[in-house]
Structures are given as structure tokens and as C-alpha cells.
């Protein structure tokens, strides 16, 4: 794969290093001259010392034949513009943005950049999966959509106990995919009634996560 890494900070540098080790072709675009020089000393001549948010340098870096452009600076606005310019200058390849403020994931999606990675969110997901008491685990996002898979354990005293799947007031666009009861999968038909200890698997729009939590975990 040919990958353009826009931004040679910590994230960009280690990403480029890992990609090179995995035998991918990489160009890092970094505007700071000294940083660019340092990366070149570490990784060889894979650096273009230029601002990544100017289209002509994206073209100079060969973005037309890139399989992916990764915007990984520490500045969300810059990452957005890098991605939008890459879309404009180099249609065809994948465009992925790092977002620092997690709520910008929604902003980026609304502005046409679907693939985002938020380190805050990744860490939160890890932590939520580690906490056994929480009972509400966003398991994973589904790539190429605005959906995610959520697992929720039905605890005593929560609003979903004794309700049928059909009567749950889940947000629009979400679906109960299955119920795990005593280690077995129970089909999530409309009549299925939720019991304490059930683990419910839900497909839901990422933006509606809080509403799903309200319905299933209270």
C-alpha cells in the first residue's frame, strides 16, 4: 500500500515507522523543518518538508496514487482540511482523520469525513470494557457506517427488565441483534421478554449511544 501520513508528530512518526516495517510505502508530510529532518534521520528519505494542508504539496507527495491519506496532526481543524483537500485533489484513496476532541467525530461525519479515530474514545472504550460493573459496553464501531455494536447487561431495577424487545423505546435506526441468556443465544424476536442477567447485543447509530444506554441500563 502507498500511504500518505500528514503530520509527523508522535502519532505520525510511529505510524509511519510501523507502516514501513510492515513493508508499505510511506511519505510523511511535516511542516517543521527540524522535525522533518529528524524523521528523515530515523526513517530514511520518506519525508516531504511542507505544510500538509496545502493541496499542491499533497499532489507533490503523490496523493493521486495513494491508497490512503492519514491526517494525524494534533489540530482537529487542520486534520479536517487536510482530509477535505485530499478528497478534492486525490479522489479514490481512503481518507482517515485523527480527532482530538471526541465530539468532532460527529462534526467530521457531518462534513463528509466518515473515517475518524479518536484516541479519547478508544481509551474510553477500553476502560468501559475493563469495568465489570458497568454492564454497558460499546463493543466496536462498524467501519464504513455510522453504527456500532453495543452489549448491555440487564441489571435488576433497570427499566428494561420484564419488557419485550418490541416495547423497548430504542432510538431510531437501532436494532436488537440477539440476547445471550445463560450462555446461549436467544433470537431477539419482538415478543422476547428481557430478564435480569440477559446480555443484549444492539446495533445502533454511534450518535445514539447515550439513548441506548438510557433504555437498557437506566
Amino acid at each position: 500500500m502507498y500511504v500518505l501520513v500528514a503530520g509527523g508528530g508522535e502519532v505520525g512518526f510511529h505510524l509511519a515507522k510501523a507502516l514501513i516495517e510492515a513493508a508499505h510505502e510511506v511519505v510523511v508530510i511535516e511542516s517543521d523543518r527540524r522535525r522533518a529532518q529528524w524523521i528523515e534521520e530515523q526513517l530514511g528519505s520518506v519525508v516531504l518538508n511542507a505544510p500538509a494542508d496545502e493541496g499542491r504539496y499533497q499532489i507533490e507527495a503523490g496523493c493521486q496514487r495513494a491508497d490512503a491519506v492519514l491526517a494525524v496532526t494534533g489540530d482537529d481543524a487542520k486534520n479536517l482540511v487536510i482530509c477535505q483537500l485530499a478528497r478534492h485533489n486525490c479522489p479514490g484513496g481512503r481518507v482517515i482523520a485523527r480527532v482530538n476532541d471526541p465530539k468532532n467525530e460527529i462534526v467530521f461525519k457531518a462534513l463528509g469525513i466518515d473515517e475518524t479515530v479518536s484516541s479519547t474514545r478508544v481509551l474510553m472504550n477500553v476502560l468501559e470494557q475493563e469495568l465489570p460493573t458497568s454492564g454497558f459496553l460499546p463493543l466496536m464501531p462498524l467501519t464504513g457506517s455510522h453504527l456500532e455494536i453495543i452489549e448491555a447487561e440487564i441489571s435488576p431495577g433497570t427499566p428494561a427488565v420484564g419488557r419485550s424487545v418490541r416495547s423497548l423505546k430504542l432510538p431510531e435506526g437501532s436494532l436488537v441483534g440477539g440476547i445471550v441468556r445463560s450462555g446461549k443465544v436467544v433470537p431477539a424476536v419482538g415478543e422476547a421478554v428481557l430478564e435480569v442477567g440477559d446480555r443484549v447485543i444492539v446495533f445502533a447509530p454511534t450518535v445514539a449511544e447515550a439513548d441506548v444506554r438510557k433504555v437498557l441500563a437506566g
Partner: protein, 167 residues
Amino acid sequence: MKVVISGCGRVGGFLAGLLDSEGHEVTIVDLDKGAFMHLPDGFGGTTHLGNGVDLDVLRQVGVDRADAFLALTQGDNRNLMAAQIAKEIFRVQRVVAKVNDPIRAQIYRDKGIITFSRTTILGLLVHAMLMDETEIGEKLLGRMLEVERGLAGRDAKPRRVPAEARR
């Protein structure tokens, strides 16, 4: 007209004052408290300390109810992001972004954001003045002289600063 401006530099501060003096409802946002010094004395609009590309801040200052949003910070990218949030998420009718890189300005203009580049505007204006192309420059220069005379006149008068404003 309700106008929200992001960025209270020289341009933002000047424009906020101009719109306010014409009777428009102006809210101006900046990250830096010191930037509000660019507002003229007697500015009657609202100042808001906060990040103008932050969704929550923009909601707080009522961008969803604004007739116009102007992104005038020093950062091209910040202006483009804020302008797109205003247009695509809050559905503001008139959105203007200051984008000093003329190439970026052109690309986003095609996406329906009114952009202007200080680089080309100033460059062309100075060129017109130099070449005596009065048609381009005359109107703008006339208006500029008029406004600047007003500003200078106001500054030249010895002012009595009210006690509460001196704090």
C-alpha cells in the same frame, strides 16, 4: 440581522463595531480575552470567551439562530471548519470565512462557503491603485477613507472614559 463572528482580531473587531453601529445584533467569540480590545469603545454587542470551532460553544452563542456567521480568526483551517459547522450543521444562511491561502479559498468557495483571501484582495487593490485603475479601487477606497476618517475623528477627540469602563 443576528450575526455571530468568530475571531476578534483587527478585522473581526472592526467589523463587529461596524455592524453593531448599524443596529445589527452582534455576538463575537474569541479564545483570548485580550483580543476584545480590538472592539471599538461603546460596542453594544455580546462578547463570548471560547473556542469558535467548538460545537458546544457555537451552540451556546446561538449560531443556530443566526442569520450570518463570519469566521475571521487568523487560522485558515479553523475558519474553514467553523464556517462548515455553521453551514452544514446549524444551517446558517450566510457564511463567510477568511482564508488567506487563495487556493484553499477557491476550493471551499466551490463548496458553497463564501471565502475571501486577504492576499488576493489586498494585492489586487494595491495593484489597482498603482496602475490608476480607478474602476476597481475607487468605490472601495472611497468607502475606506470615509470609515477611517470616522475612526480617526473619534480617536482624535479627547475622550472622557467612564469610571466603570476603566476597571
